[in-house]
């Protein structure tokens, strides 16, 4: 380190010493902590009470109001087209699913308002997948659209700030309605809202190196919704409408993604980030040389991440069943999963669809700027 730099850093410390901390009354921090604990417990209890109301049939009447015909939304058209393991992305030509391009009724990318790790909102765009279509955010209005493949897109939600999440293997879509302060669980096949549940903390906006702008929904299924918000991870049981905290505040190891049978954590060994794979019936597996984010494929059989070593800064796919590693082309990537085991890899001048089962990649006819799914 140069003497100039040492001097600069000493001045930085001098600046920090210039801040006078206000006197904190004794016990204030404990008091606030207790308030937080009580608020979380009350929230869980409130959601449980709502579940009891459902059992008693009161919400059967409310359920009629939750149909797609409410709040000015169009009546549902039952979706039917389920596409296979194809790459899905959005660009200026439209919403691509494999070789088919479908038009969207609104622009779902606003590149002039692109989010960085430091921007609040609006977002560049959010695109998520469900079995028979896509769900996406209109960044201009906060509306959530359901786009059935080969069908007519329609608005299904409002006031979403971080955009929707979806189950690429099923029909469940989710989002947070900021106006209501509630998690909305929506059945895209039935065309109706399953539940609207008040939650203490909505899903966080995510962006940063290698991953497209999106949100913190880690898992969406007909059984549960898992999301991250500011380091805390919540799990919502769709049937009981109860939400529990499965990780409170940042922790090490930190849960990065979940699937039914697989959990992925970010751990720390001697200051270096490691991926930790937890699979029932197997000893915990640790993988070094990876950057601190990773996502499981829709089946949970593959893990997509980025290797960061002296010689490689590039995508890689780990088979969670065998531990085998497939290294993707050695170039700085932006990465996301599509349907099946198809990973989308944006490197330099190309968008690739990389099939994790066949270990092959092909170039896609994508035009920049494009939007990748946030699943």
């Amino acid at each position: 380190m140069s003497s100039d730099e040492t001097d600069l850093i000493e001045r930085l410390h001098a600046v920090a010493r210039g801040f006078e901390m206000p006197a904190a009354p004794p016990g204030d921090d404990v008091h606030r902590g207790l308030q937080r604990v009580r608020r979380t417990r009350a929230l869980v209890a409130g959601a449980a009470a709502a579940a009891v109301v459902v059992v008693l049939g009161v919400s059967a009447a409310l359920g009629g109001q939750d149909s797609a015909g409410s709040r000015g939304m169009e009546p549902a058209e039952r979706p039917g087209l389920v596409v296979g393991a194809v790459p899905v992305w959005y660009d200026a030509r439209g919403l691509h699913r494999g070789d088919v391009v479908e038009q969207t009724p609104v622009d779902i990318v606003q590149p002039e308002r692109a989010v960085t790790e430091d921007s609040v909102s609006p977002m560049q765009g959010v695109l998520a997948l469900v079995r028979s279509g896509a769900v996406y955010l209109d960044p201009a209005t906060g509306d959530v659209w359901f786009h059935p493949w080969g069908g007519h897109p329609r608005v299904v939600g409002h006031d979403s700030q971080a955009g929707p999440g979806g189950d690429p293997n099923g029909d469940t879509a989710v989002w947070f309605d900021a106006g209501l302060g509630k998690l909305v669980v929506y059945d895209t096949a039935a065309g109706r809202v399953i539940s609207r549940t008040p939650e203490y903390e909505s899903v966080g906006v995510l962006s940063g190196d290698h991953w497209p702008a999106g949100n913190g929904f880690l898992q969406v299924s007909e059984e549960r919704v898992v999301w991250a918000a500011g380091g805390t991870i919540y799990s919502h049981d769709v049937r009981t409408r109860r939400t529990s905290t499965i990780q409170d505040a940042p922790a090490s190891p930190y849960l990065m993604d979940v699937h039914d049978q697989v959990d992925v954590f970010r751990g720390n060994e001697g200051g270096a980030s490691v991926l930790v794979l937890s699979v029932p019936g197997r000893a915990e597996e640790r993988y070094r040389g990876f950057e601190p984010r990773a996502r499981l494929s829709p089946s949970g059989t593959h893990l997509l991440s980025v290797e960061g070593t002296e010689t490689r800064h590039a995508g890689a796919i780990l088979d969670t069943r065998t531990g085998e590693l497939w290294r993707l082309p050695n170039a700085y990537p932006w990465i996301a999963w599509s349907y099946g085991e198809i990973a989308l890899v944006d490197i330099e001048h190309a968008l690739l669809a990389c099939d994790a089962t066949r270990r092959t990649c092909r170039s896609l006819p994508a035009e920049r700027p494009f939007l990748l799914p946030t699943n």
Binding site: S2, E5, D209, G308
Partner: protein, 170 residues
Amino acid sequence: MDVEEDFTAYVSQRRLTLFRTACLLCGDPHQAEDIVQDALARLYAAWPRASRADDIDGYARRTIINSHLNQVRRPWRREHVAADVGERPTAVHLPTEDLQVLWAALRNLPPGQRKVVILRHYLGLSVEETAADLGISVGTVKSQTSDALAALRRALAAEFGASVTDGEDA
């Protein structure tokens, strides 16, 4: 030692550092106090697990960073927390002009650069620790640190006419 005693003892030792870190992160001592209060409330709620972690300071530091992100992303929550706090003045004493210039330059850095330079050179984290805390690559930490230090040197040079040399990030 019970939870409250244990937590209170930790906070009494670390609160000033956490507060100063938050000040450097957000550029506003009033907002920094909100951030610290929010972070410590979270830390208390997680204390049974956090206190068993190998690196409680790292746990607390990441809580500060995430509370800062929450404040940025939800300004209405900041207003709610500030209403709870009431009027408590905070002050910045920068007795020399060079420190005032540096403080202004730090606040003008892009937030990503500001975060890495604070973690690397105020808190003394390694490149790898900084990358892990911020969820970014090692390469990004190095490049943002280099850019940030260069910007801060230029700011001081512009005011005081000192010669600027490019140092190497350690």
